[in-house]
């Protein structure tokens, strides 16, 4: 989990162009300044970094199994996908 968190935080920080220390689990991606297209890029970066498939449709972000409501939920979702 800690490994996932560190790497997800780094991906989000790079996307948001902010220092990684400024990313915390309770923030939303919007708080970080990541817009809808940024989210699509983040998902791609996560897939590439962890070699996983993320179920995410930009048309129905609320209905995806992948919860992007906060940084923490993204970390948890990635962790679940990594566990397979």
């Amino acid at each position: 989990m800690d490994d996932t968190r560190t790497r997800v935080h780094a991906i989000l920080a790079e996307q948001a162009m902010i220092p990684v220390e400024e990313v915390s689990d309770d923030q939303s991606l919007q708080d970080l300044g990541i817009d809808s297209m940024g989210v699509v890029e983040v998902i791609f970066a996560i897939e590439e970094a962890f070699d996983i498939q993320v179920p995410f449709n930009a048309n129905q972000p609320d209905r995806s199994d992948f919860d992007i409501s906060t940084v923490g939920t993204v970390v948890e979702a990635v962790d679940r996908l990594r566990a397979g």
Partner: protein
């Protein structure tokens, strides 16, 4: 200013290999979306599309032609042959010099690119066919139309992604209005349903895995299609003098740029395009009884488009019909506006409004009469056709019955 009319129409798309079959399918509300039958489809996450099925290029073209004609060029030539035949025009010396082609396409010869990249990168070949460049280039189809009918006036291709066809038709209209041409072949063609073409769209995460449901609360994204729509645009007096059957008048066009975001549409850009088309056509809002929507089936487009229509038309927005035929023939990208114009012709000529199929549930953000699932009879004397592209480039056409 000269007036411009349509005197011929032709198409190839997933609904049919000609205009009558396509319009019959639109009338019946048939959806042509299905499993993609393309090489390496098993490596795609999105495996559906509105594909032209059972197409045999050898049934239409000889070997020498096929080495030069990408699939998108073939579609354009077949559609143009239907349109020119319907117009009854023969391009003798004088007319040929005053006729040309403006064609819309986004991907051009994308199948040719895909096949040859595969050959050199994946299969490690170090040699490609000598005609790869003339086959893949974006102006190949326009060039072959000009050669096939000896059109020796202005010819070029416009590429504005999903609005390419509407921009092309608008340009063709402008050339005739300005007296630079008497007859123009115009419209668009696209054949993007190859592995690379679908894979690229997949990355954007806006594609549906089931079907295309524009304006529906349960929408799941867009579905790609392919095909061509080609029209003969003719100067009004030229058409009248020869007693041509005028299918409709292209009364106006407006093009605007959002100048804001590369993919997210802006309501203001769409509004300015619709208002501009009405103004250019001298068309009152209450004349417009039908709008052929851009209607991609993405949340971003559908909500923005409906808000723009509601804002531009005010109370008239509740009286007009608006439908997206992409629900039937898919999003044919650079060819889509031209194929959709066939729904406008059907509305103006036959009084039948094509439906938005696959519709399930009302979306409060799309609270207009979107003609769900079943075609409707109505007297339509004027209509708009919307196209709002990535890049924020918009083109709206205004048509009138003749």
């Amino acid at each position: 200013m000269k007036r411009v009319v349509i005197t011929g129409a032709g198409t190839v798309n997933a609904l049919g290999m000609d205009v009558p079959t396509t319009q019959e399918a639109m009338r019946a509300g048939r959806c042509a979306i299905g499993e993609l039958d393309i090489r390496d489809a098993d490596r795609l996450a999105i495996r559906i599309g509105a594909q032209v099925r059972g197409y045999d290029e050898a049934a239409h073209f000889n070997r020498q032609q096929i080495v030069l004609f990408d699939r998108y060029t073939q579609f354009a030539l077949l559609a143009a042959a239907e349109a020119v035949a319907q117009s009854g025009l023969t391009f003798g010396d004088d007319l040929a010099a005053r006729s040309g082609v403006v064609l819309g396409t986004s991907g051009g010869g994308l199948n040719t690119q895909d096949e040859n990249y595969r050959a050199v990168y994946q299969e490690g070949k170090n040699r490609v066919h000598p005609f790869v460049v003339p086959r893949l280039m974006n102006n190949a189809a326009a060039a072959h139309l000009s050669m096939e009918w000896n059109l020796r006036g202005p010819s070029f291709t416009v590429a504005t992604a999903c609005a390419s066809s509407n921009h092309a038709i608008g340009q063709a209209m402008a050339l005739i209005r300005a007296g630079q041409a008497d007859v123009m072949l115009t419209g668009g063609s696209e054949a993007m349903l190859c592995f690379g073409g679908v894979k690229a769209w997949e990355g954007l995460r806006v594609m549906s895995r089931d079907t295309c449901r524009p304006f529906c609360a349960t929408r799941s994204g867009m579905v790609q299609g392919e095909g061509a729509g080609i029209f003969v645009l003719e100067e009004y007096d030229h058409a009248r003098k020869r007693g041509a059957d005028m299918l409709a008048e292209v009364a106006g066009c407006a093009m605007t740029s959002d100048a804001s975001d590369i993919v997210m549409p802006s309501r203001q850009g769409a509004e300015r395009a619709m208002e501009g088309a009405l103004r250019d056509a001298g068309m009152a809002r209450d004349e417009v009884a039908y709008i052929n929507a851009h209607g991609t089936g993405t949340a971003a487009n559908d909500k923005t488009e409906c808000a723009a229509v509601a804002h531009v038309f005010g109370p008239q927005a509740d009286r007009l019909m608006i439908s997206s035929t992409k629900s039937m023939h898919g999003h044919c990208i650079g060819g889509t506006g031209a194929i959709e114009l066939l729904a406008c012709l059907m509305a103006l000529r036959e009084g039948v409004v094509a439906p938005t199929v696959n519709w399930q549930e009302r979306d409060p953000d799309c609270a207009l009469d979107i003609v769900p699932n079943e075609a409707r009879r109505a007297r339509i004397s004027a209509c708009l056709s919307n196209a709002f592209a990535f890049g924020g480039m918009n083109a709206v056409l205004a048509l009138r019955a003749v």
